[in-house]
Each structure stands twice: as C-alpha cells, then as structure tokens.
C-alpha cells in the first residue's frame, strides 16, 4: 500500500464522471435490454410482459437461422482473408520492401480510415450493371466475358461484400502484423540464414512459429469485429436482394426499428452478444491449450 497515492476523495473525483456516464449509458441499458427480451411492444406503444415467448420465437425463426448462418459465414471467411492478406502484406513489408515499406504501408492503410458508407457507394458504382456498366463489368467484357448483375443475387452480392471489406481492412492487419514481425530479433533470422534456411522455408519454420502470438490476437480482433458487421453490408446491399445478405445486426435493426418490436429485437441483440462472447472465450482457450502443448 502506498499512502501517498491513496486518497478516497481524489479517487472519487477522478473516476466518478467516467464511471457515472459508463454506468448510466451502457451498463444500465445492457440490463434493461435483457429485461426487454421478456416483453413485447416498444417505446411508443409501451411494453407488456410476455415471458419466454421471444426466446421460443428465436429458436423457430428461419430468418434468425439464416442471419446467424450469414454472420458466421462472413466472420469465418473475412477473418481468414483479412488476416491472411494482412500477413502476406506484413511479410512483403519486412522481407521484400524493408526500409522502403513506409510509403506502401501508408497507401495500403488508407482505406482503413475511409468512411464505410463512402467506400460502399464507390463499390456499388464499380460493380454496377445498370443503367451503365461499372469498372468491373467493363473489364469483364474487355476480356471476353459477359457482365454480371452483382447485386441481383445473394451469392454474388456476398462476394462483393467480401471483396470490399478485404480491400478496406487488409492494410490494417498488414500494419498490425508488421509491428509483430518487427518484434522478432534480427539475430534469429541471421542464424537461420546461416543454417541454410531461405525463402518459404524461413517463413514456415522460423517466421510463422515466432509470429504465432500476434497472429492469434489478430484472429481474435478479427472475429470479434466481423461478427458485428453492420455498416458495410447496410450501405452496400442493405441486406438484399431480399434478405439474402442480412446478418444478425441488420435483422436486429429491422425488427426493432422497422417493425417496432423492441422485445424481439433485444432478443436478437442478446443472441449476438452471446455468440461474440462464446467465440472470444473459445479462441482464447484454444490458444492457451496450443501454447502449453509446445
């Protein structure tokens, strides 16, 4: 105990404002939202108690099943792709570009800070077919293929979402993993090279194992973020065509604000919270087991 730095009144004054705002605007609403799951109605019409009805509906609702599947499919695919491309970028920065990587890093990172809505509208135009072909369809026709109505079908629309989000996020993971690679001492590479390791062998036997911790934390960040995907899909396809690209977040938004069902909307939000907590805990534990095995 350090008596100099222990003072009740000062502590209260310093932590008070943040704790008060955080409690009133986040903690209390989380609890209230949980309470909403047991009701039906909304802020304007008032709430009535409905027991476990919302949970029963959640289990049988095919739209929830589809939305959950889409969310998981998006999260898995995006995590593999954005961390994978990010890792390739970081290897490029460290081993190929070396001292000259700064400019490339800066450029490739730029899409990360762009507003998602702006990027989504830009990609809508790039993949447009009517009234006029966008860049992508024009390029397809130039090489003798025919134009594709990208947003007319759930499968191709999903593909555009993935392409756009990889474009937006790979620079971020590139820089994140680059910082991790820089932490590996140079002597390790030197001695590995003297032992005859080079190229892919060096990457596979030396670089990959040593960068595993930062790779795993990237995976956790990625899953945690991609499960909550909202902006990019809403702005690019608005969940369509139909509901074919609606993740849980958009379904929650629709039920709550378009149909005014706060109780059921909260139940969907609760499901989303449970899924992201489960996945985070799961990855943490899987990671810990691997590290103790080695």
């Amino acid at each position: 105990m350090n008596p100099l730095l222990g003072d009740r009144r000062a502590t209260l004054i310093l932590i008070g404002p943040a704790l008060l705002i955080y409690s009133v605007v986040m903690l209390v609403p989380i609890i209230v939202s949980f309470g909403y799951t047991l009701t039906s109605g909304n802020a304007i019409t008032g709430f009535t108690f409905s027991g476990l009805e919302n949970y029963q509906r959640l289990l049988t609702d095919t739209r929830v099943r589809d939305a959950l599947l889409l969310t998981v499919r998006y999260a898995v695919l995006m995590t593999i792709l954005q961390v994978g491309f990010g890792y390739l970028l970081s290897l490029l920065y460290v081993f190929v570009l070396r001292k000259w990587s700064s400019a490339v890093r800066t450029l490739v990172f730029f899409p990360v800070v762009l507003p998602t809505v702006a990027v989504a509208l830009l990609f809508q135009q790039m993949f447009a077919i009517a009234p006029q072909n966008g860049l992508v369809n024009t390029a397809l026709e130039a090489v003798g293929l025919s134009s594709v109505d990208w947003f007319g079908d759930g499968g191709t629309a999903f593909l555009v979402i993935i392409i756009m989000d990889v474009w937006r996020s790979m620079g971020f993971y590139g820089v994140l993993l680059y910082a991790g690679l820089l932490d590996i001492p140079e002597e390790v590479f030197e001695s590995a090279r003297i032992d005859g390791a080079s190229g892919f062998g060096l990457v596979r036997r030396i670089v990959l194992p040593l960068s595993l911790p930062v790779l795993v934390s990237s995976l956790i960040f990625s899953v945690n973020g991609t499960l909550k995907v909202f902006d990019s899909i809403l702005a690019l396809t608005n969940g369509g065509p139909g509901t074919s690209t609606s993740p849980l977040t958009i379904y929650m938004f629709d039920t709550s604000f378009r149909f005014g069902q706060y109780g059921y909307g909260s139940t969907v939000a609760f499901l989303l919270t449970v899924v992201s907590l489960l996945v985070t805990v799961f990855i943490f534990r899987a990671n810990r087991r691997d590290l103790t095995k080695d």
Binding site: S33, V96, N133
Partner: protein, 307 residues
C-alpha cells in the same frame, strides 16, 4: 531487417527508384535469380498499389464528370473539364453543409469529454491505490466487447421519454459513453509506463492528487492523449449505427447518414454529384491522414481490441 548479403539492394524493380542505390554485387552466382525475384516482387507491389489506389482515383475523376459524360463515355475516360459544379450541387442541394456541421457538433464535444474523463479514470485506475480498482477496470473492459446493438433500444426509449429525440444530444451522449471504455483502457495502459516516483514527488511537494494529475500526469501523457483522440475521432466520424438510430429527421443527419440517403434523395442516380459527395466525405479524413499517417496507423492498431 539487414540481410546477410546486403550487396544487392532489396528494392523492387520499379524503374528509376532502384538505380541510384545499386552497388556492384560481389556475388555473381545468384544475381540473375535475384533479378527475376526483384521483377516479380516489383510487379506484385505495382499490382497492389493499382488495386488500392485505382478505385480512389476513379472516384476522384468521376466527381468532375457531367451526367452525359457518365452515360455516353466509357467508364475509364478522363473528365472533359475540371469543373466543381458537382461539388457545389452536393454541398448545397445535397445539404452537406448541414450534415458536416452536425458531425462536427457531435463528434468534437464528445471527443473532448472522452479525453478528459477517460484520462482521469485511467489515472485513477492505474496510478492511485484503492480497493476494487481491478474490478472496475474489468467492468470497463467488458464494455469494449459488448455489441452496441445491446444498448440501442433502451437508450432510444430513454431519450424518447426525456424529450431528447429531435436534438443532437442523444448522439453526443451515446458517442461519449461508447467511446469511454476503450479510452479508459488505453489511458490506463499509457499511465502504466509513467514512473510512480514522479507523482510521489509531486505529492511530497504538496501538490495534492487532483493537482498532480492535471499539472504532472496529463502533460506526461499528452502523446497518448493525441493517439487516443485520433482513434476515437475516426471511430466516431465514421460511425453509422448510432447515427442511424438516433437521427430521425433530415436536419439531424451526420455526414455518414446524409451520404447513405444521398442516392435515395435524388431519385435516379445523379452520378457526378454522388461521386462529389463521396469525395467530400473523404476529404477531411484524407487531410488528417496525410499529415498524421504514422500516428494514425499506430493509434488504430493499438485500439484494435475494439472490433
């Protein structure tokens, strides 16, 4: 990383850039294989840059084109003249002046509050000694992981009951609260690196805890404040979910919600103004990023815990 054979510079074979640095290579044997490798990696980097920059250049060019150019010229054609009519249209007809002012009026006040309260709490949690600080820190950490969707509906109901709906207050309050957990967490991490002795010395000089926070603590972490400010600025400025939930009328829209409604507002697509609107939305971000790209990259990756 310095390699074992430093004789061959590891520059991609981009014409011009590599030549001044080329030195005579003593090891002849591997040099032709090296050359091929350089060309391949140079081509890869070029492709990467085209993929990243291409769409942005196309967007900028499009913002100067007229509607007839869009419909009659090929998509990759350069604009026939550099006029700013599209920008004027987007700024005035598209209400962008109003949207920008809404964004500024909500993002900057909450940034100020987040930095002040966040650094105060970070200091209290990391430097001060008191019972229960571990539990409080974990409580803040939990706030980073919980999806925002979980708090939207109760907040919407509360703002409605308090009569705040129809003003910018809901945005300002929600922005401040949702940014606090990450700010508190990051500031606590930064205070960890400041030696305790400095605060103890300030205390022995009779400064008092509050005074030593403002006069000694804050100046010591001003770089951290700047980093956290940048991270939160990008998160709030680009926010769509919260803005979409609490802006029920056109005059409250932030830049992002305004841009999202832009296509719907003008019926069939007005390409030029749309591209100009996208560019307008990007300009502020671009300027900040050009000047501060190192800090932005460092800050945003430090804030990666928030998905």
């Amino acid at each position: 990383m310095t390699s074992v054979d430093t004789a061959v510079p590891a520059v991609p074979a981009v014409p011009g850039s590599a030549t001044p640095l080329r030195r005579p290579a003593p090891r002849r044997r591997g040099s032709s294989r090296r050359r091929v490798g350089q060309i391949v990696s140079g081509a890869l980097v070029a492709l990467l840059l085209v993929i990243v920059v291409g769409p942005l250049v196309w967007m900028l060019l499009g913002s100067f084109k007229t509607q007839t150019e869009f419909l009659e010229q090929p998509v990759w054609a350069l604009p026939q003249q550099w006029n700013f009519d599209n920008y004027v249209f987007a700024w005035t007809q598209g209400n962008f002046a109003q949207y920008a002012s809404n964004s500024v009026l909500t993002v900057f006040p909450s940034l100020l509050l987040v930095l002040l309260f966040g650094s105060m709490a970070g200091f209290a949690l990391e430097v001060l000694v008191w019972k229960g600080r571990g539990a409080i820190l974990i409580t803040f950490l939990a706030g980073i992981m919980v999806p925002t969707q979980m708090i939207l509906l109760p907040l919407f109901a509360a703002y409605f009951r308090l009569g705040l709906t129809g003003t910018l207050w809901p945005l300002l309050i929600t922005y401040t609260a949702t940014s606090l957990p990450l700010a508190v967490f990051l500031m606590a991490t930064f205070f960890r690196a400041v030696p305790r002795e400095i605060f103890e010395a300030a205390m022995l000089d009779g400064a008092g805890l509050i005074r030593s926070f403002f006069l000694v603590g804050l100046p010591m972490v001003r770089n951290a404040l700047f980093t956290v400010g940048l991270v939160q600025f990008f998160m709030l400025w680009n926010d769509l979910l919260i803005a979409l939930t609490f802006t029920n009328s056109g005059s409250l829209r932030t830049l992002q919600v305004g841009l999202l409604n832009f296509t719907g507002q003008f019926g069939s697509v007005q390409y030029g103004p749309l591209f100009a609107a996208i560019c307008l939305n990007v300009v502020a971000i671009l300027v900040i990023y050009l000047f501060l790209n190192k800090q932005v990259q460092k800050g945003l990756t430090a804030g990666a815990v928030k998905g």
